[in-house]
């Protein structure tokens, strides 16, 4: 048997692979005596048997995993994600958080034809899929309210507005839900920051527009556009930045005198990654969240290739 022990205990949960309080208590002993390779113990769900899912065969699993197969990876219990990303965001909380996680209701009772005794040999490309999903931290969007605004008037009549014309020529407005901040300019243009998802950003922008409307201005909601998305995640191992900058000189900039992280400018997709010695990675510059995921899947094998074998 090859290095396939990853199909064991963490087969049924997208959570921490170290959480051994799983339904499969019985099989633990069988597998533990065989475990010896550290490298198999990572969040690698690609080796999960997905044959029970419709239309996903072992062959096209790898292809779909590399593009947008995240929902496939994340839900071995077969539940269909409500929307393309909702399943991902649900599960990523379980995967990438260090806080203790509870087994999700869907996965605890799972017992489909999957048996831990039939491990599937992962194809070489699949073993590089990280199983880690970057979490979105900030979305910046802009919208055109299409009317001239009297900023002094807005600052006077709104509770949640800040206006300091000497410091900055815009009103800074905040709302509680979704927790965001907006910069509202007298031209009618608005920037909305702080949301954690595209939908939240859009909802927040609409709320700001409504506030402006209620203040008496004929605000519209034109050309809403996501301008930037920031995500972050943790690869869970330390990274020798000095080595990485040597290997990927044309993309990397590592100046410890200036900044402790390595700045990696990925060409495709055009994303800037900040890579830190702790293994934490920040990804920014995306206009669509798929770019963040793609960028991370591109960088993960590079970072992994850097890990010292122990």
């Amino acid at each position: 048997i090859k290095d396939d022990f990853s199909t064991g205990p963490h087969l049924f949960t997208p959570m921490s692979p170290y959480d051994v309080e799983l339904p499969i208590q019985a099989t633990k002993d069988v597998f533990h005596s065989q475990f010896h390779q550290p490298k198999t113990f990572h969040t690698d769900y690609s080796s999960v048997d997905l044959s029970f899912l419709p239309d996903v065969t072992q062959d096209n699993t790898e292809q779909s995993l590399s593009s947008d197969g995240h929902e496939m990876q994340k839900e071995p219990d077969g539940s269909v994600p409500r929307s393309k990303y909702s399943g991902v965001s649900e599960d990523e909380s379980n995967v990438s958080h260090t806080a203790a996680t509870q087994p999700s209701p869907e996965t605890s009772g799972v017992c489909p034809p999957l048996t831990p005794m039939t491990p599937i040999t992962p194809a070489s490309s699949a073993s590089e899929i990280s199983g880690i999903v970057p979490q979105l931290q900030n979305i910046v969007s802009t919208v055109n309210l299409a009317c001239k605004l009297d900023l002094k008037n807005i600052a006077l009549h709104a509770r949640n507005a800040e206006y300091n014309p000497k410091r900055f020529a815009a009103v800074i407005m905040r709302i509680r839900e979704p927790r965001t901040t907006a910069l509202i300019f007298s031209s009618g243009k608005m920037v909305c920051t702080g949301a954690k998802s595209e939908e939240q950003s859009r909802l927040a922008a609409r709320k700001y527009a409504r506030v402006v409307q209620k203040l008496g201005f004929p605000a519209k909601f034109l050309d809403f556009k996501i301008q930037n998305m920031v995500g972050s995640c943790d690869v869970r191992f330390p990274i020798r930045l000095e080595g990485l900058v040597l290997m990927h000189q044309q993309f990397s900039s590592y100046e410890p005198e200036l900044f402790p992280g390595l700045i990696y400018r990925m060409v495709k997709p055009r994303i800037v990654l900040l890579i830190f010695v702790s293994g934490k990675v920040v990804l920014t510059g995306a206009k669509d969240r798929s770019e963040i995921y793609e960028a991370f899947e591109n960088i993960y094998p590079i970072l992994k290739g850097f890990k010292k074998p122990s």
Partner: protein, 413 residues
């Protein structure tokens, strides 16, 4: 009439033996060797004025000239080889033409010259630190950083990493400990070769122990140099603190150096616990310095055995309890694995157990950041962005008429 300035004060002058018709006002040479009789002939035969020749386009602007002179001066001050000066000047000229640097403040243009010198040095592995250049330019480091990064991007330059080994040599050269002098007490004097060699060893050890990555290099070198110096004559030097050492040596003491020193000593103490002939002693951070030589000699072996080399970890790098296969009831896992790693039962990604701490960057051993809050709840993830917005929710953000009145009075809008 002079075509250049219109003056009528034309003088016949001779340049050596050649007759020339020159304007006395502006010095424009109208004709050489010929006396013309008509104005049109004069025009045809006059010299092409310099302002109309291509020479004007080749003339460098005053700003560029000044910048080039600055670059050259910097190279001379830093005693760089001549080739460096040529390269730096060519970078400067290239960058100066780019729109990104053309319309910037004079301050930035000053820094641009310094950046070109800095980049040139780095490309030749000449260990010049940003700190040095900034102090030479009297520049703020943040501004320098911005100009440096733009320069790198605009010219598409690849700047190799700072070589730590070279930095050690250069930095130690500035320490005034190698020549006897009036203000250096005898116990402070040290042999340069020995000090450099030992400092290199300590810096290399620090690098392996994750103390260097992501940190400013100079404080590491300072702390390492101090330890090396102490260890070469421990009896006399153990009582000398880092601050005094730096003062006597005539170097700055960067604030992080104290912390780097602490971290280095911690690593050394850990290693010392694995040296059989030192196990008997109860070493502390003072006494371990005496054994730095031995520790460095056996560093490969000691690092492997003193610290848990597993570089991955379970949920939470520090003390998330014994999750993972280390939990009770799993006695079998340890046995087949212990063969190579003494005292560190490892099996894949799990926390190190026992007294050995993992060999990880300090930011992971002592994480300061609080754990990330839970991800958005399921209700949020079902958001479409087009949800209806209630009036009451928006009205909570609007001031009531009384509030507005009160504000008006207070702020006198």
């Amino acid at each position: 009439r002079c075509p250049g300035c219109g003056s009528e004060a034309l003088v016949e002058d001779a340049l050596y033996a050649q007759q020339q018709l020159v304007c006395a006002a502006c010095g424009c040479v109208l004709a050489e060797g010929l006396l013309t009789t008509t104005y049109s002939e004069e025009e045809h035969l006059r010299e092409v004025a310099y302002s109309q020749s291509t020479g004007q386009k080749e003339q460098l602007s005053r700003c560029l000239q000044r910048g080039i002179r600055r670059v050259q001066d910097l190279c001379k001050v830093l005693q760089l080889p001549a080739t460096f000066e040529e390269t730096a000047v060519s970078y400067f000229q290239r960058a100066f033409q780019l729109p990104a640097f053309h319309l910037v403040s004079l301050e930035k243009k000053e820094l641009l010259g310094g950046c070109c010198v800095f980049v040139t040095c780095r490309q030749h592995n000449w260990p010049l630190t940003m700190g040095t250049i900034c102090s030479l330019l009297y520049a703020k480091q943040e501004l320098f950083a911005g100009v440096f990064l733009s320069l790198q991007r605009e010219l598409g330059l690849s700047v190799p990493a700072l070589s730590l080994a070279d930095l050690v040599k250069t930095h130690l050269s500035s320490f005034q400990l190698f020549q006897p002098s009036a203000n250096i007490p005898a116990p402070f004097l040290e042999d340069k070769e020995k000090l450099v060699a030992r400092t290199m060893g300590i810096v290399e050890l620090a690098s392996k122990a994750w103390l260097v990555t992501g940190r400013h290099p100079v404080p590491v070198v300072t702390a390492a140099a101090f330890l090396a110096w102490q260890s070469l004559q421990p009896r006399a030097r153990l009582s000398c603190p880092l601050a005094r050492f730096c003062k006597v040596a005539g170097v700055d003491l960067p604030p992080p150096a104290h912390l780097r020193l602490k971290e280095l000593l911690e690593i050394l103490l850990g290693m010392a616990s694995q040296l059989t002939w030192l196990r008997g002693f109860n070493l502390d951070k003072k006494t371990v310095v005496k054994h730095v030589g031995d520790l460095l000699q056996h560093r490969v072996f000691l690092l492997k055995n003193a610290f848990c080399q597993e570089e991955e970890w379970a949920d939470g790098a520090t003390g998330q309890g014994s999750r993972g296969q280390g939990s009770p009831g799993q006695d079998s896992p340890s046995s087949p694995l212990v063969t190579k790693k003494k005292g560190c039962p490892l099996a894949g990604k799990r926390q190190c157990e026992g007294p050995l701490r993992p060999l990880l960057p300090p930011c992971l051993i002592h994480p300061r950041k609080r754990l990330r809050p839970a991800a958005p709840s399921t209700s949020d993830s079902a958001l479409t962005g087009d949800e209806p917005i209630s009036d009451s929710e928006i009205e909570q953000y609007l001031r009531s008429p009384e509030e507005i009145q009160a504000f008006r009075k207070a702020k006198a809008w």
